[in-house]
Symmetry: C2
Subunit: 511 residues, 2 copies
Amino acid sequence: MQNMRPRMKKGDAPAGPKLLARRLRLHTHREAVVVIRTDSPIARAEGLGPHSQILLRGRGREARATLFQVEQPIIGIDEAALSEAVWQRLGLEEGDMLTVSHASPLESLACVRHRIHGHRLSQSEMDGIVRDVAAGNYADVHLAAFLTASSAMPLDEKETYFLARAMVESGECLQWSSAVVVDKHCLGGLPGNRTTPIIVAIAAACGLTMPKTSSRAITSPAGTADTMAMLAPVDLDIAAIKRVVAKEGGCLAWGGAVSLAPADDIFIGIERTLDIDTEGQLIASVLSKKVAAGATHVVIDIPVGPTAKVRSRATASAITERLAKMAECFGIKLVCVQTDGSQPVGYGVGPALEAMDVLAVLQDGPDAPHDLRSRACFLAGAVLELGSAAPVGGGTRLAEETLLSGKAWQKFERICMAQGGMRQPGVASLKQPVLALHSGRVIYMDNRKIAQLAKLAGAPDVPTAGVRMQVRLGDEVAVGEPLLTVHAEAPGHMNYALAYARSNPGMVEIG
Amino acid sequence: MQNMRPRMKKGDAPAGPKLLARRLRLHTHREAVVVIRTDSPIARAEGLGPHSQILLRGRGREARATLFQVEQPIIGIDEAALSEAVWQRLGLEEGDMLTVSHASPLESLACVRHRIHGHRLSQSEMDGIVRDVAAGNYADVHLAAFLTASSAMPLDEKETYFLARAMVESGECLQWSSAVVVDKHCLGGLPGNRTTPIIVAIAAACGLTMPKTSSRAITSPAGTADTMAMLAPVDLDIAAIKRVVAKEGGCLAWGGAVSLAPADDIFIGIERTLDIDTEGQLIASVLSKKVAAGATHVVIDIPVGPTAKVRSRATASAITERLAKMAECFGIKLVCVQTDGSQPVGYGVGPALEAMDVLAVLQDGPDAPHDLRSRACFLAGAVLELGSAAPVGGGTRLAEETLLSGKAWQKFERICMAQGGMRQPGVASLKQPVLALHSGRVIYMDNRKIAQLAKLAGAPDVPTAGVRMQVRLGDEVAVGEPLLTVHAEAPGHMNYALAYARSNPGMVEIG
């Protein structure tokens, strides 16, 4: 202190007393929580109170956590019980000791506050925020404040680029020897739209390099990784991905195991909790994942429909423009394709049910859903053209031929083998149809409600659970005919789902 | 369902299976958290996953909570362990059973989302939000989103009024028979500025009705309720407040026991966590508390200084204007007084140390801090004039006389007796001075850092802890003379505080 001389020697900052780290396998989504006894002498000496931000040190690492205090002796007085998120962040083992102390305020939060009050963020400010987010230093309230601020005053072009760059740098990056590395992404919101496995099989069969990493479901009834996990192991590390791609030209892996743009996943979790979509965040999210995955040529599927994520062609066009501009900044060739988003795709909604649709299309079976097949070929065509594996205008035809000839199916089988062996999806033990109350024509489907129905049935945690659609828009149905069937494994789930169907008129409307 | 006939009878919504409520006395500040075992058959059947929003029903009440799941058997497989906040909200007793189910999305969150995207809120929308907030239905992320949105696009005049009205209606309201009920409020940020007990004693001694309810500290080293608790019981219910005021004309009670505008306290908690101040929120907060307390004439103390809450006279004037307009809407006569906010007031910072300053002023002792005395008389004068107990321009003089004559002290003693008996503040066992490193004149004090120092010493949880200032701006000090003394009860606290003093040059600057 410049003008004051406290009676302590320089450098003897309080060492911080130690507590025994206790693993409860406490699942809090990913919030860092530490539980200490109210009567802990250390908490008292350090002046730690509930909801303090605490700095934990162990195994040479540091992590922040929110403090809860407990009076009942469910943990020892000398223990600090950690949520699984922070246990893993510190890489602790049973018996490890921890020091606990007050966490000093995060500097990057000052930037968040400035952003709330209308100041634009620079690259270095954005870097600081994203670094802290990726390190798990932000509590959920801080994440909510940042996302709300960048939604209330939307991220501009520069900030979106800064955010995407910062997110790329927050994690690992894949590098490939091929000059052309194709990828695809769907903006989502359409249940059953599981084109990715089919597209990868076609693209790889046509000689392109397509190392696809996908997410698991966050709020949807299935992500591509959930569906692919029904057919082959998807939990590949970087070495395994490289090996599969070197051998087969493509893979279908879970992105969570390789930590590409991890800050993005943290943001997405809170966006879903708040149910806010911010366009800048979306653009940065898509681009950062593609840049980190090493893609050079990317096709974006934008389903447009009243209950899809993108509701109008105008919005789709605006997103297309922003994505294209941003892709250019990163040197990526990008094409957006607007597709019909007015109803679910294929029959199945849920991991196993969607996997069966994928198999049926790849095997060209009699029960292959026509809509999934044609969407997949259309998008695969765009990938083939963008990657120069087909002449402009000839992509869809080449995709169709690759499917019909069985080459796509053979490639898919080989990819599954290379990933660890092919599996057969299971079938749910409980099935209950939902029937038409009167005759007429199907005039409307609500994607969101159908997705919710599948989730109430247990998807994606119960992989065989979900919904199998039995009608499509325009179909004539007679009274008493099934509109869809709910698949579940537990009577509780089945009851919830059917109660939801009953109380939600208009999920499938008959005119 | 309009067009579908699920195979369930109408009305047989899933009853929801039961879990045994377990009280852990888990302190989470006020977040509603429920912990259930990962292997709980009920969680599985209901499809509940970590961080779901759960609806709990017990004792005929409902509450929402965030779900955490635990693998270790620290609780039983048939138990639901609740954080103290939600235990008390449900009014549970040991042995009670709970039903758990998915919580449906809150309708008022749609209004928050609209607000984020720039739509102004109506009275009924604001009512819906505040009702849910007061009921504890908002998770912290939702509160953060609402507060960030109303900071990024500030609340306008109408919204501020709507918010204040909604907050008043979120809790109880006090009613008084006197036509004139005076009150005062300080916008805060000034350590040791404990004028309230002195003002109440003077006003009541002069015949005014001043039923004062105050808060405990949220992030400061002491709130008025913390300081008053050193001198008398403050935990009074409405009946006790009424009785004390009927007898003595005034009281000095803790507001938390009577639930005036409870939504406001919840907002304040998150504002402090995020460290954002929103002017509209501040205006609504001040007015809602005064309206709920039944005040008719209110004096607002606005300390202005570089490290006070309000940093410039321009900001103070803007706040004055907004407060005055809003007070008019509620039919309250309100006067704002700008005061010097450049340094702490009195000697003590911390509950017991401030209580000693208050006693010294009331008893007109030789060690009474002159600045606290003159501020209290100045503000009491404004209260007396506004409440027509003194002629315009004669308030401060009457306040001085009331102090000097001993009438204020007698009134204070009687109020303390009526509240349950007078007490003497304790004294800390550890004291360490912080000394001047060179000679010169004190040219600057940082209120925020001095407040932080007092908190690190243990205040307000350790009531005797804090800081005793020994110099004021303009004082000449010689090298080695004490600038302030840290008071603490635990060596850990003392070490923290001294380390903080050492690493924070400029807390007390000598030119």
